[in-house]
Structure formats: structure tokens, C-alpha cells
Amino acid sequence: MSVAELICPAGTPSALRTAVDAGADAVYCGFQNATNARNFPGLNFTPQELEEAVAYAHGRGAKVLLALNTYPPAGRTALWREAAEIGARVGVDAVIVADMGVADHIARAHPGIRLHLSVQAAASSPEAIRYYCAHFGVKRVVLPRILTIAEIRQIRKEIPCEIETFIFGNHGLMVEGRCSLTSYLTGQSTNMDGVCSPASHVEYVRHEDGAMTSRLAGFAIDRFGPDEKAGYPTICKGRYNAPHRPEGYYAFEEPISLNLAPMLHQLIEAGVHAFKIEGRQRSKSYVRTVVSAFRKAVDEIRAGRRADLDGLVALTEGRKQTQGAFATKKWR
């Protein structure tokens, strides 16, 4: 049986302390700039806050993973170098990278730092993963959420590093690190600026009948009826009219969250080393609830017992959940 580390999100120092106290084995977080893929207003850590967070986590036996998982635009690599330098100085346990240049820089300039390959690298084949391991010394890959458990089991046999999979949160089916949908409307990049549907471009319009329209950069993404559950205002989860679907339909994905609670045992048996909970943009309440629930579930499984884990649907997007590709590639 693999270790089944629980990797938990933190958007603020207080959320990090909450995650550690709730039983996280490791917490991942980022700086207040474009070096990470959750560069949202008011979120993330200053260098001093990260230093204090590392001390707090280490004092309680937890690790801190620094997300530097965006792609530096040409000629603007200094921010990523500086972030890596700070991470090394304050003693983070690993850096999560996507860009080869960032990986190469850290491998050379900070050889003592453990590297994890972000889901933003979209490495889903043994060949791609082995390349990152061979050239940059990557010790763990965070797999895209597009693989079945059978495929994960096979990949595990063919790679020399640990596997981390998402178990809860954003369903994330776009080819991560390659998705430019937001850029077309807002001019800001998910992959280089760290902002998918930047809040500055989002608008919610309430109608007299209780319906709500969500807009991104002036374009309607969805219109939720008075009694309909809502989702994030991302283009990939928008509902659109088309000549062949005049009633409106979800062209890419639906507002729904991944929840692999019933599959934890199978994932462990497939060789997954670490379970990742998505949601650095979510609240402490979310962190406390989800981390506590999965902590208990993982401990039950480690003790050879069945894990009962339900009641998380209230925290899911659109109040709907799926096991996605992990169960079948015909989930829609």
C-alpha cells in the first residue's frame, strides 16, 4: 500500500494553519503574483508569511509545497527565479513546477529542492513523465484528471517517480497548461498570469425573476434560472446557444466537482502516492471541512477499514459531483 499523503490547499496563512490543524500531510500555496496558477486578488502569501507558514507546518510535522506552476513569458523570468530563491531560503519541502525552464533553473540553482511536476505541465504519458524525471530530477508528478485508474496503474509501472492525483475539487478537464480560453476574452492568461476568469472581468447580473447571468469581459457565460444551482464563471463551464442547440448547452464541461471519495482504496492500490485536494481559492471553512473528512477517510483505509465519506456535496460546484475519467471516459 502506498503512503497516501494528503496534500491540501491554502490561499492564506490562516487557511494553511487550518489545513495543518485538520490533518494535512502537506499544504501547497503560492506567492501574491503571477508565479502560481491561483493569482487571485487578496489571495496568497508574502515571503514573510510563507516563512512563518513553513515554521508553523514543520513544527507540526507537515510539509509546505510551493506552487511555481505558471509559464514565464519571454524575457520575464526574474519573478520566477526570485520566487524559487525565496522558497529555497525559507525551507519549503518541494516546489511544484510546470515550465521546463523553471524546472531546469531550480534543478541547477537549488539542487537540494525537491521538484514536483504540476498538473499544469499536462504530462499524461510515461514518456513525458520520464523526460521530466531524467532531465530535471522530478520526484513526483501530479497527473491530469483525464486518466482512468487502470491507466494510472499502468503509468505507475513505467515511471521512476511518485504519483499525485486530485481527489476533490475542480473537475479540470481542459488540457491544463495549454488552455487559452480566458485569454481570448480578457487578454490575461491562465498559464502566464495565473488567472482563469480574473475577478476584475467577471460580472453577475441579477434579473427581476430571480435569474442570474454571469458575464466574463461583457460576454454572457451562463444564465441560471431562479432555482438553478450556479457554477464558476469560466468559459469552459459556460452554457451556450448554438443553431443546433437553441435551448443552450454546456459545450465543454458542466459546473460539477470531482469527488473521488469512493475510489480512494482503488487509487492507493493503483500506486498513487499522494491525494490532492483542489481549492486554494476556497475559504477556510472549505479547507477545514474537506481536509478533516479526507483525513479521517485515509486513516480508516490505512487501518484496513472501509471509509465512509459523504456530505461534501454542499461544497461542490453546481452542487454536483462526479468521478469523471477516473471511473469512465464516458461520464457525460
Binding site: T12, Q281, S283, Y286, V313
Partner: protein, 176 residues
């Protein structure tokens, strides 16, 4: 109780009137003291708010006879109880049931989940709302209890009473 029945009502409640103005007069001295104390004890809030310190937020607890006007400017803090027909133009607005808003302030509820379930409405500048949410979420402990503690046992009794009074109409996760 069904989810639909617990959702916030479509129409604005209690637009103004004598009751609203009296309630504002009663609440205002307490609000002024509370916002000053919270700002004094949690200065890091303002760093996370950034330029939105000067945004006019309208916070609308739908069951109360007034809404709140918040401008979290450390140089000139405003938290004002205001009749709904006298509110200033809102840079950003947040609307929901009183207890939900209280629990969001205290990070006892998840704002995204409340938004997904349609129990929380936001309008105006979304970035301002996100910044305020993240700033409040980084505060350790309960802001509501800090505020209640300022007024000793009567303050704590009033907070407990408010929680009891409004809890029975709060929506619950349906567990599906």
C-alpha cells in the same frame, strides 16, 4: 425545509421608513465601535484589500430592517447602518440571510458554496468582493465574537440571541 423555500427572496425587503431609520440610529454607535476595534486588531486586512479599501460595499442582510454601507478605508473607516432607500451607489454588493453573512465573516461557511447554492448574491465589482472575502478569511478566530466581547456579557448574549433567532431559517446542505 426545501432549498427553494430557504433561498433569499427575490424582492428587496424593508426599503426604508420610520422603523428602518430608528433601527439604524440604535445600531450605529455599536457598528462604529466594532469596525474601529476590528480594524485596530487586524491591520493585515487592509493589505489584502489593496486599492479596494476605498470601495463602497453594500452588505444587505435581507431580514434586517437596514443594510450596511462599508468603506474599509483605514484613514476613514465607515460601517454605517442605512435604510435601503438611502444607500449610496455600491461599488460592490453582497446580499444574503443575516446568519449566512455572519458565518461568512467568521469563515464558518464557504462563500463559493453559498454562491453555488444561490444563497448568496454578489453584484458590482467582483474583484472587490473577492478581495474582501479573502481578507476576512485570513483572520483567525471569530470577528463576530470579538465584536460581542467588546460589550461584555450583554454583547455575548445579544450575539447568541441573534444566532438563535436567525438559525431556524438558514438553509442546510441537502447531503445529496
Amino acid at each position: 425545509m426545501s432549498e427553494i423555500a430557504t433561498r433569499i427572496e427575490a424582492g428587496p425587503p424593508t426599503p426604508g421608513g420610520a422603523l428602518s431609520r430608528v433601527a439604524c440610529l440604535v445600531a450605529q454607535p455599536f457598528l462604529t465601535r466594532i469596525v474601529r476595534r476590528i480594524a485596530q486588531r487586524h491591520p493585515a486586512l487592509f493589505a489584502r484589500l489593496g486599492a479596494h479599501c476605498r470601495t463602497d460595499y453594500v452588505i444587505d442582510p435581507v431580514e434586517l430592517p437596514f443594510a450596511l454601507h462599508l468603506r474599509p478605508d483605514p484613514e476613514r473607516l465607515i460601517l454605517r447602518a442605512t435604510p435601503r432607500d438611502r444607500l449610496p451607489p455600491a461599488g460592490a454588493s453582497i446580499r444574503g440571510r443575516f446568519l449566512l453573512l455572519l458565518e461568512l465573516i467568521d469563515a464558518e461557511q464557504d462563500g463559493d458554496a453559498a454562491f453555488f447554492s444561490r444563497d448568496l448574491e454578489i453584484g458590482g465589482d467582483t474583484e472587490a468582493v473577492v478581495r474582501l472575502r479573502n481578507a476576512l478569511d485570513d483572520v483567525d478566530g471569530s470577528i463576530a465574537e470579538e465584536a460581542a466581547d467588546m460589550f461584555g456579557p450583554p454583547g455575548r448574549a445579544i450575539l447568541a440571541q441573534l444566532r438563535r433567532r436567525y438559525r431556524h431559517v438558514e438553509p442546510q446542505g441537502d447531503g445529496r
